[in-house]
Structures are given as structure tokens and as C-alpha cells.
């Protein structure tokens, strides 16, 4: 049945009148996603290609029954936008915005948890349940419906690996970009738990990178709780310590957060780690037969 989003999801796009917001809102709708509302304060009452715009998320929830929010607002206003969605009762809040201050995310993370809201991102490409719904900026052409759950800290690398799967005839249940920031709303484990309970998902691909210890935690969790095959990839073996590699969260601090340590932890938990995206495709093909 895919996870987090499907054909029944009702999506509001916060920041819909911006360039990115309108472009992707329409792309997501073209894919078949129910994009039923947009929010831009002060522009309520307008429409974007037939999608009604509201001044507040609460207005969109009341009029259109939205349950999922997609946030494109600039970094300095993004935490406020998340709070507005959380407080309006939206269940899944997906934030694409890059560059949000980490102290803002500390508070948003704990507020969302306390309210029982699932936060995806920030600094992420969103998520896609192929054939059902696309919420975010993921290019749909490299995905196809199937049985592999994909969870990743990186956008383009997710597309690359989905491409490796799809060209081998392997489809995906849902691909979730959890984001490249040091503090993100959902961790690998949060997503793995859902893949574990999802009937459509037969195997999982986890795409990690340097920084933090979420891959290590996910490895230990999967060994204990997940009875589906897991294949992993880790980027950043050649990254020097102390340098931020593009993503705010991709940094080796002292001796912590190296790709080598993550690979070791994953392999110790019985998870195969591909040496490049292409090998990930081969390993998944092997695991499914």
C-alpha cells in the first residue's frame, strides 16, 4: 500500500504562488496527486491553475480537508510554516527548503513529535509512491511502481539509485528523501518502521552519507526489527574531516561520522553495502530472487 502518501492524500502547498511552489504543485498534480489547496498569506481567494489559494493553512484544512503539506517557503520563514501546518492538524509535513537554521529545527522537531505529526525534511526532495502520488521535487520518470522501499539523505543520489533499480525492472513502493540537514524530522528508523509494516514493500534500500550516526542506529534497529532484505549505500569515503560536503549534515566531526564506520556497522548487521550506485542495483536484484 506504499507509505506516508498515496492516491488518497490531500495536499496543500505552502508557498504555492512562488516560482518553485507553483511549478512543483502543478507537476505533482499532473502525476495524479491530489493537490487540493495552496497557501500564501495575503493571496487567499486566488487560484493557481485551478488550485484554490488560502491565506492560512487552517483555512485550507477547513475548506479542502488536507492531510499533507508541502513547504516551499524561504529558509527564514520555514519553521513558522511548519508550526502553522502542525498546529492546523496536518498529519504529514514535507519541507523542501534548504538552509533552515538548526536551532529552528531543534524546536520544530520536538514540537512535531509532541503533536504526533510526521515531519519529512527539511533540505529534502520530498517523497514519491510511484503510480500513486508525488509530493515534492522528485523527477517521476525514473521511478516505477513495485516492491522496493527507498530511503535516502540525498536527492540526486536517490534518483540515480532508483534509475539503477528501474532499469533492471525493479519498481519501488515509496521513495523517501529524509533530507541532508543535521536535524531532520524523520530518521532512517522512522521510515524503516513504516516499510517493515507495509505489505507492498518487499525489500529496502538505505542511502546514507557521512555525518552523524543515523546509519549506525538504523543498522542496529534493522537487525533487530526488520525481516525484509536491506541493501545500503554510503557516500563520502573520500571526504576529509571537518569539511561540510554540500549538505549541512554531511560533515565528519573529529573521528565521528565517517563512511567507513557506517559501512562497518551496516555490514556487521548483515546489510550488504554497494560500492557504487550500480552495484546497489545488482545487490537488490540478487536479494529479490
Amino acid at each position: 500500500m506504499a507509505i506516508l502518501i498515496d492516491e488518497s492524500s490531500r495536499v496543500v502547498v505552502q508557498g504555492i504562488t512562488g516560482r518553485e511552489g507553483s511549478f512543483h504543485a502543478l507537476r505533482n498534480r499532473d502525476y495524479g496527486t491530489q493537490v487540493v489547496a495552496g497557501v500564501t498569506p495575503g493571496k487567499g481567494g486566488r487560484q493557481v491553475e485551478g488550485i484554490p489559494v488560502f491565506d492560512t493553512v487552517r483555512g485550507a484544512v477547513e475548506a479542502e480537508g488536507v492531510d499533507t503539506s508541502l513547504i516551499f517557503v524561504p529558509a527564514r520563514f520555514a519553521a513558522d510554516a511548519m508550526y502553522e501546518a502542525i498546529d492546523a492538524g496536518v498529519g504529514v509535513v514535507v519541507t523542501i527548503t534548504e538552509g533552515i537554521p538548526v536551532h529552528d529545527m531543534l524546536r520544530a522537531y520536538h514540537h512535531a513529535r509532541a503533536q504526533g505529526v510526521t515531519l519529512i525534511g527539511p533540505n529534502c526532495p520530498g517523497l514519491i509512491s510511484p503510480g500513486r502520488a508525488n509530493v515534492g521535487i522528485i523527477p517521476t520518470s525514473v521511478f516505477k511502481q513495485g516492491g522496493v522501499g527507498l530511503v535516502s539523505r540525498s536527492g540526486t543520489l536517490t534518483y540515480q539509485i532508483a534509475h539503477e533499480l528501474t532499469r533492471r525492472g525493479i519498481g519501488q513502493s515509496t521513495a523517501v528523501g529524509i533530507g541532508g540537514d543535521p536535524i531532520v524530522g524523520s530518521s532512517f528508523i522512522d521510515v524503516l518502521e513504516r516499510f517493515g509494516a507495509d505489505e507492498q514493500t518487499e525489500a529496502v534500500v538505505l542511502v546514507g552519507e557521512i555525518g552523524g550516526s543515523e546509519e549506525e542506529a538504523a543498522a542496529a534497529w534493522a537487525q533487530e526489527h526488520l525481516d525484509k532484505p536491506v541493501v545500503a549505500y554510503v557516500a563520502g569515503f573520500t571526504a576529509p574531516p571537518g569539511k561540510q560536503m554540500g549538505h549541512a549534515g554531511a560533515i565528519i566531526s573529529g573521528s565521528a561520522g565517517t563512511a567507513q564506520a557506517k559501512q562497518q556497522a551496516l555490514e556487521a548487521a548483515g546489510i550488504r553495502v554497494g560500492k557504487d550506485p550500480s552495484e546497489v542495483g545488482e545487490l537488490v536484484a540478487g536479494a529479490l530472487c
Partner: protein
């Protein structure tokens, strides 16, 4: 963004953390003036964004201005782990009775700030953790509640400090946390936090890392960036808005998306090459952005080949191919260039590269093949 010790101490001082009096100096003359103004014995300390200053001879205690003059002359211009010392901090010498370790860090795994206090100050925290694992007291702080005084008491008692030192140390921990929040830091480390002979508790060193993403709210901190200390290519990249990290190999790498570029570096290494840099051209990859990126990469004289690794998503490969061809033509790049285009409109993109017929531009269909070609060309 990492701050220098003197900048961090200035910020901590504003938050009420006791710090010794001191002056920053960019020349021997300024160091002498600072020592005369402070009077008495002073410490002259190299200001660099790296640890191990003491072992490298970058910290000297001297009796007077004449001593400060000699110390500053020795230390200014010194190389410490690849960092050239451009400034020293001249600080009144302290009569240290005891050295503690104090820090507030962002604990990514717990998604909360973590306060740490240890009675084993003066050494590196990883060393304390390794050699005296029980000697670091730790408490997490709920970001929605903020600091509460019991946290400071717990840290003081659990790190085994004598009861009479507890209140002063607890107070410093509360002030450090306040600084962590107000300056939107990801690290505030004071090592050593010194207990002086007269019982006062003062911060003798300070490592403060500010969140780059929050600098728009902190013009004062943003203004502390030392442009002269940055690597020339990295500085050039910052001015052009390019996400770039200098490495030390020969294969210049650029691609779209941080994860894909990190993966590209690894694939180059797997093929036996050494990447020269990390560069993410981002999602758009227009000709102008590619021009900026190539200017930065080619300013590194070690680069012998350029490897474009593009996965077309919403940005189509044919658009990127046009951008690459325009940029290569505009900059008249003679270095060999290997282009790998995959994803949306890959065939159209590859045809454009082939049709252009440029002698130094090679198209390869996969990451692995492209990396192998680039590594071979770098060695040729």
C-alpha cells in the same frame, strides 16, 4: 563557521561568562601595545582554526612587553597544521589552580543540545572520553524548555567537583547554554575552564562554531569571518555562490546534488584517481552557473582533467549539455573533460556533446566508465 578564540571569548564575555582581559594583535607592534596596556605577565596565543597550538609552540607565557614582542615575532607567520598564523591574542596570565572541561554541543543523535562538564580539563575531549570514560558528566537540554538550574547542579555534582565550586561552575554552564542559544551555535567549548587560585572560574580558551544557516540573523558574527584565512579557491567559490570543497588530487569533479557528487569522488577513488575537489552545481545547471563552477575548478593548478557527473531529473540532460558546451566555449578550456549524462533526455544530451565534436570533450554513459576515463586522462 568556526570563530577564533578571541572572537568566541568576546561573545562569551557579552553573555556574562568570565574571561581574562585580552587584546587581539595583527603585528608585533600591536602585541607590544597590548602587553603594555594589560601590564604584568601575559600569554601570547596563535589564533588559528585548528587544535594543537600549544604543542606547535603557538602559545607562550611571557613576563612583560619585551617578552610579548619576541613571542609575537616568533608566532606571527608560523605554520600550524597548514594554517598560517595571521593574528595573536595577548591575554593577562592567569594563576590556575585547576583545569576543567566544559562544552555545549548539538547532539544530532538525540536531537537536543548536550552539556558536558569534566574535572579532567586541558586535554582533548576525545582523549578524556578514551582515557577517563567516567569523568565526563552529561545532561541533555530540552530545546522547548531551555535551561533549568538543576542541570548545572547535576553536572557539578556528577563530575565530582567540590561543593564549594559547584555554584560558580553551574552558573558558567547556564551562561554557556545561553550563549549557545542566542548566538545559534552548534558548538561552544571551553577547554580549559579554569578555577583560579583565588577561586574565580574563568574561560581560558573558547571554541565557538556558529550555524552558517543562521548567520542572516547575526550580522556581527558573519562579520567575523576571516577572508584571508580561507583557501583561495574556496574563497573564490564563496564569492560566486558555488558549493565547493578543495581536496588535493588531480581530477576536478562537478555534478548536480551533494550526495551524487560525494558518490562521484568515491567512484574516482575506486578507479585509482584522486579527486581535486567537491563541487555541487545544484539543480539548475544553467550555462552561467557552469561557467562559475569551471572558473573555480580551473583556478586550481593541480587539476588535469574535469569530470562532469550529471543525473538529469527535472533538469534535462540536453539543457545541461548545452550549458556545458557554452561554458567550455566561453572559457576556452583546453583540459580534457569527461561528461557523463544519465537520466531525463540522456540520449539528446549525449548527441549534443557528440555533435559538437570538441576534441577535448569525451562522453561516457556510466559513472564507472566516466571515472575510469577521467583517471586515465589525468595520468596521461
Amino acid at each position: 563557521m568556526d570563530l577564533y578564540e578571541h572572537q568566541g571569548k568576546e561573545l562569551l564575555g557579552c553573555m556574562g561568562v568570565p574571561v581574562p582581559a585580552g587584546r587581539v594583535a595583527f603585528s608585533v607592534e600591536e602585541a607590544v601595545a597590548a602587553a603594555e596596556e594589560l601590564g604584568g605577565p601575559v600569554v601570547v596565543k596563535a589564533q588559528v582554526h585548528t587544535g594543537g597550538r600549544g604543542k606547535a609552540g603557538g602559545i607562550r607565557v611571557v613576563d612583560d612587553a619585551a617578552g610579548a614582542s619576541r613571542a609575537a615575532a616568533d608566532i606571527l607567520g608560523m605554520d600550524i597544521k597548514g594554517h598560517t598564523v595571521g593574528r595573536v591574542y595577548v591575554e593577562e596570565a592567569s594563576d590556575i589552580a585547576r583545569e576543567l572541561y566544559a562544552a555545549i554541543v548539538l547532539d544530532r543523535a538525540e536531537k537536543r543540545p548536550l552539556a558536558m562538564l569534566s574535572s579532567m580539563g586541558g586535554m582533548d575531549v576525545e582523549e578524556i572520553a578514551r582515557e577517563h570514560p567516567g569523568a565526563i558528566a552529561r545532561v541533555h537540554i530540552d530545546p522547548l524548555l531551555g535551561w533549568s538550574d538543576y542541570l548545572g547542579r547535576r553536572l557539578a555534582f556528577e563530575s565530582g567537583l567540590a561543593a564549594d565550586m559547584g555554584p560558580a561552575v553551574s552558573e558558567v554552564m547556564a551562561r554557556l547554554f545561553e550563549a549557545f542559544v542566542i548566538y545559534e551555535a552548534t558548538l561552544v567549548e571551553v577547554n580549559p575552564l579554569a578555577v583560579l587560585a583565588d577561586g574565580r572560574v574563568v574561560a581560558l580558551d573558547c571554541k565557538l562554531t556558529a550555524d552558517d544557516n543562521a548567520l542572516f540573523r547575526h550580522a556581527d558574527i558573519a562579520g567575523m569571518r576571516d577572508v584571508s584565512a580561507a583557501d583561495p579557491q574556496e574563497q573564490m567559490a564563496r564569492e560566486r555562490g558555488v558549493t565547493y570543497v578543495k581536496l588535493d588530487g588531480e581530477v576536478g569533479v562537478l555534478g548536480n546534488g551533494a550526495g551524487l557528487v560525494m558518490s562521484t569522488l568515491d567512484v574516482v577513488a575506486n578507479a585509482g584517481g584522486r579527486p581535486a575537489n567537491f563541487l555541487d552545481v545544484g539543480g539548475g545547471a544553467k550555462a552561467e552557473e557552469i561557467v562559475h563552477a569551471l572558473e573555480v575548478i580551473t583556478s586550481d593548478e593541480k587539476v588535469r582533467v574535469i569530470f562532469f557527473n550529471i543525473f538529469g531529473g527535472i533538469t534535462r540532460c540536453d539543457e545541461v549539455a548545452r550549458g556545458i558546451l557554452t561554458a567550455v566555449d566561453q572559457l576556452r578550456i583546453m583540459l580534457p573533460i569527461v561528461v557523463r549524462l544519465d537520466g531525463t533526455n540522456q540520449e539528446e544530451g549525449r548527441s549534443l556533446i557528440a555533435e559538437a565534436g570538441l576534441e577535448n570533450v569525451y562522453s561516457e554513459p556510466t559513472m564507472t566508465a566516466a571515472a575510469e576515463r577521467a583517471v586515465a586522462l589525468a595520468g596521461a
